[in-house]
């Protein structure tokens, strides 16, 4: 902890505490984790920008089928490369303390592959595919699943889920906020 502490001033820690769902200690802990991904680079510059491939070394992200999407969503340069602050943002959203609405917001962006602010058929198909990989559902099953999803959630029948509709589902799913969690 001693080394980590020297890299941040008290005010910076206070700012991080105010702006994330973490306490100061947890911020430092997060930094330890971040540093472990690339000890030399981060040791040199505490807010170094790590390429996406490095960030994906983080065990939870490596195992996650949406790892690259998560990096892209939280990256401040939108290309998946993350600085420590981006990483902190990410962990803050994934922490236990973050409210459901915030989680839902980010989940929506993670699932929104084409970035059109709607979860269309293409997005949903990709989500299902990534979830079941390496097996793939055959085409009829896939069609059916997509159809069921839209039947369940697409309230205005426009063939895509808007954020409001997505949030509506999340609101009713008590599992979501439990599973959308990464413990530091």
């Amino acid at each position: 902890m001693g080394v980590g502490k020297s890299q941040f001033s008290e005010e910076e820690l206070q700012a991080y505490q105010d702006l994330t769902y973490f306490t100061k200690k947890e911020v430092l802990h997060a930094h330890q984790k971040f540093k472990a991904l690339a000890p030399e680079k981060v040791g040199h510059n505490r807010n170094a920008k790590l390429p996406m491939s490095k960030i994906l070394q983080y065990p939870e992200l490596r195992a996650n089928p949406f790892g690259d999407r998560i990096c892209k969503v939280f990256s401040s340069s939108q290309d998946g490369d993350c600085t420590f602050e981006d990483f902190l943002d990410m962990m803050s959203v994934f922490s236990d303390a973050a409210p459901k609405a915030v989680k839902a917001e980010h989940a929506f962006r993670i699932f929104d592959f084409d970035g059109d602010d709607m979860l269309g058929i293409g997005d949903l198909r990709q989500v299902v595919d990534r979830l079941t990989a390496p097996q793939r559902l055959n085409e009829t099953d896939m069609q059916q699943v997509l159809q069921y999803i839209l039947d369940e959630a697409d309230l205005d029948d426009d063939g895509a889920l808007s954020f409001a509709e997505f949030e509506h589902i999340i609101e009713k799913s008590s599992d979501f906020s439990k599973s959308f969690c990464i413990r530091l």
Binding site: E60, A63, L131, D157, I169, D175
Partner: protein
């Protein structure tokens, strides 16, 4: 917005649709939004739907965050979120943010407290850290009113409270038990299994609290206060008075040298507690305290269980409402983000795949079920009936078997007690052999119960596969049968105790010798529960480390398919839940007779966590079934609640009805434990007595009952109305959706038409130009 956009908008102004559209939006979405609208429409008129406010993810969040008057922020977020090109987003939004966050001077100035509140809200915004910091600085440096007097004080207090809460959280997280273990389990098995371990943790805390209550009100006074000595037997003229019986019991326990005997007269069991009231200095009525603490413990447990059961029940209701959301739940909430192990990830993928398949399969089965022929239905029905009969027979057989084993082993032990008493001078070797045999018979019934608990569920699992139920129902019915087995074995144990205990004790006897009722039956029963608890715990330990561990080792290191089949084991959640609940039930059952049983239970639950952790992480492979955290939690609590309620009944009965033994415990001499309370009640002041008495009469009872019924009906009606309202609103939502869709289509068609017309006009104009 960049300058280019503005220019474009300016030259597009003339278009006719704008008037209609702009009026529509102008009020809440000022000019800036139109540029984007224009831009998007230029590209693709049919894309107009994506511009609707309801499609704006960030708008929705931002609106919720700040439902006060700040429309500026709303605009900011809405404009930014639409950024289609990343570069533009980056370049403009910091500047944008800076501008929009400036306090709106036209509105009332924000005061310190509000600024602080807003700073606290920043964390919920989906923007990167650099922007958050900037926002914060902006807010802090903006002019704001200083709070005065009481307001200031109130704010300071709020701030301090927040600080304190953060501190507490930090301290708590440091203290929290098993955090790392939970993380590893979650990483390998997902949140459903973590919920199970959290349940064990919850039980541990519950036991600690139960123990604390009992320790404070029963054990501590009993050790600290020097209870007045009973009058000696010699003085009394009746050789079977309470004091003589007590002395007889005391002497017997001192003489018999076996292990149980040594433990018998300790605070561990009921028998050792005094029935005297401590009066020198302070007044302390130990018997009263004993019964109140026990009742208190039960009420406390009930409240705690009901509270958490209600919490998970509420979730269940919300979910059931969304029974139709099963696919969405699976797709959007299916992945456990805490999984950090590649192997588990692969299994999770597979499990999700299977789950999707299973859902589709269930859908098909449902269809098939509707198309089933009459003949098939009859066949299936007969099959199910037959299997249910078998299950019933097996259950009854188990009950009878346990009953006879009890009878047998008790008959074996009783003569031995006499023997050991007589043959004091025998060789020690012989004695120790005797003791082992004695110990064996003492534990024999419990071993049988535990073995049955292990063997019969496997049989049930096999039988249920023949019945052709839907997968979710299979889990439920197996569980139901297994619960029944476990509970029935406990019920048989209780009945055999009951037969032993409930006999007439004459005035001239300490206990009924013909029926072999022990001198202090409460201690005897306490010991039995103690033994049952220990045996079960030991068996858990033994099964996990000496049977299942080698099995899993074999499975890991062999290629042989048969061996693998026998070795491989999944973490079968329902079974493990039952193990835990069963132990807890024994704890509650034995509580009254062995007040320190919660202490044993603390130890037991603690050890059990590690046993189960080992069983989970080392012995088992991740389950191919998906256990949902929320659902399983509701299910744990339900099972716990059922077994709790079922087993408070016998305890309650024994407190209210059965005569306590004469020779030991705090209630010697009373007709029943309850009669003590009646005696105490008689000592209350008159007015309190009459009030309490009134509460018990029909004059109070019937109106209360009527009022409660009315209340119940009222809430029932409200809930029905709410349900109706939900459907109405849902329908309305769908209708609105259709309307909107219709309007949007019309609008985009209109725009297209306009654009074409414009083009046409321009072309014509050009043509005219060329002609002239």
């Amino acid at each position: 917005m960049s300058g280019g956009d503005r220019k474009k908008r300016a030259c597009d102004r003339g278009q006719g649709w704008e008037e209609a559209g702009a009026e529509f939006y102008q009020e809440s979405y000022p000019a800036a939004i139109e540029a984007d609208l224009q831009q998007a429409l230029q590209r693709d008129p049919s894309h107009i739907a994506t511009l609707l406010p309801s499609k704006k993810s960030r708008v929705a969040t931002a609106k919720r965050i700040r439902n006060d008057t700040k429309t500026t922020l709303r605009r900011r977020t809405s404009t930014r979120s639409r950024g289609t090109t990343t570069s533009r987003r980056m370049s403009t939004n910091i500047h944008d943010a800076a501008v929009s966050m400036l306090p709106d001077l036209s509105e009332n100035l924000s005061n310190e407290e509000r600024t602080w509140e807003e700073i606290m809200q920043i964390k919920a915004m989906p923007v990167c850290m650099a922007q958050k910091i900037q926002l914060k600085n902006q807010l802090q440096s903006a002019t704001k009113l200083r709070l005065q007097g009481f307001e200031q004080l109130k704010w300071q207090r709020r701030k301090a409270w927040q600080q304190f809460r953060i501190r507490m959280k930090e301290a708590y997280s440091k203290m929290e038990l098993w955090n790392d273990s939970l993380k590893t389990i979650g990483g390998n098995f997902g949140m459903g299994i973590v919920a199970y371990f959290l349940f064990i943790k919850w039980l541990l805390y519950l036991n600690v609290l139960l123990f604390a209550i009992i320790f404070l009100f029963i054990v501590l006074p009993a050790t600290l206060l020097d209870m007045p000595e009973d009058e000696t037997c010699v003085n009394s003229n009746n050789s079977h008075s309470i004091s003589c019986c007590s002395e007889l019991y005391w002497n017997i326990t001192q003489e018999s040298g076996n292990i149980a005997g040594i433990l018998e007269y300790t605070l561990l069991f009921y028998g050792a507690y005094s029935h005297m009231t401590y009066t020198s200095g302070i007044f302390f009525n130990l018997p009263l305290s004993y019964i109140s603490a026990t009742v208190g413990v039960f009420i406390f447990s009930l409240i705690v269980i009901v509270k958490s059961a209600a919490k998970s029940f509420k979730q269940r209701v919300v979910e059931n409402e969304g029974q139709f959301y099963q696919y969405c739940n699976l797709v959007f909430g299916g992945w456990d983000y805490c999984i950090h192990n590649e192997k588990s990830a692969a299994i999770k993928h597979k499990a999700l795949y299977n789950e999707v398949k299973a859902f589709l399969e269930a859908e098909r089965l449902e269809e098939e079920r509707q198309n089933r022929t009459r003949e098939e239905t009859t066949k299936l029905f007969l099959m199910r009936l037959f299997i249910n009969l078998i299950v019933l027979t097996v259950l009854c057989g188990c009950g009878i078997f346990i009953y006879y084993i009890f009878e047998f082993s008790f008959n074996q032990i009783s003569p031995q007690i006499d023997e050991t008493n007589i043959t004091d001078s025998h060789l020690s070797l012989n004695l120790s052999l005797n003791r082992i045999v004695h110990l064996f018979f003492e534990f024999l019934p419990y071993m049988c119960i535990v073995i049955l608990n292990f063997a019969v569920p496997s049989l049930f699992r096999y039988l249920v596969s023949l019945e052709n139920y839907s997968p979710s129902f299979v889990i439920r019915i197996t569980l139901f049968r297994t619960v029944f087995l476990r509970l029935s074995s406990l019920i048989v144990v209780l009945t055999s105790f009951y037969r032993l205990i409930v006999t007439e004790v004459k005035d001239n006897e300490c206990t009924n010798n013909t029926s072999k009722r022990p001198l202090c039956w409460e201690t005897f029963v306490g010991q039995q529960f103690f033994k049952l608890y220990m045996t079960d715990l030991f068996f858990q330990f033994f099964m996990t480390f000496f049977i299942n561990f080698p099995r899993s080792m074999i499975a890991k290191h062999t290629e042989n398919k048969v061996l693998r089949f026998f070795g491989e084991q999944e973490f079968d959640l329902p079974k493990h839940v039952l193990d835990v609940v069963y132990l807890q039930t024994i704890c509650w059952l034995g509580l009254f007779y062995a007040p320190l049983l919660p202490l044993i239970a603390i130890f037991g639950t603690f050890v059990l966590f590690y046993i189960k952790k080992f069983a989970c992480l080392v012995n088992s492979t991740p389950s191919s079934k998906i256990y949902r955290a929320s659902k399983s939690n509701a299910f744990f609590m339900l099972i716990l609640l059922i077994s709790f309620i079922l087993f408070t009944v016998p305890v309650g009965y024994s407190i209210a009805e059965i005569e306590p033994s004469k020779s030991c415990g705090p209630f010697r001499g009373f007709k029943s434990v309850w009669s003590l309370l009646i005696v105490v009640f008689a000592e209350f002041p008159d007015w309190l007595q009459s009030i309490l008495y009134f509460l018990g009469t029909a004059g109070f009872g019937i109106p209360a009952f009527v009022i409660l019924t009315l209340l119940l009906y009222y809430y029932y009606a409200v809930s029905i109305a709410n349900k109706h309202m939900v459907t109405v609103l849902k329908n309305q939502l769908v209708l609105e959706g259709h309307d909107k869709q219709f309007l949007l289509n019309r609008l985009s068609a209109f725009i297209k038409q306009q654009q074409d017309q414009n083009k046409y006009h321009q072309e014509q104009a050009n043509e005219l130009g060329t002609f002239s």
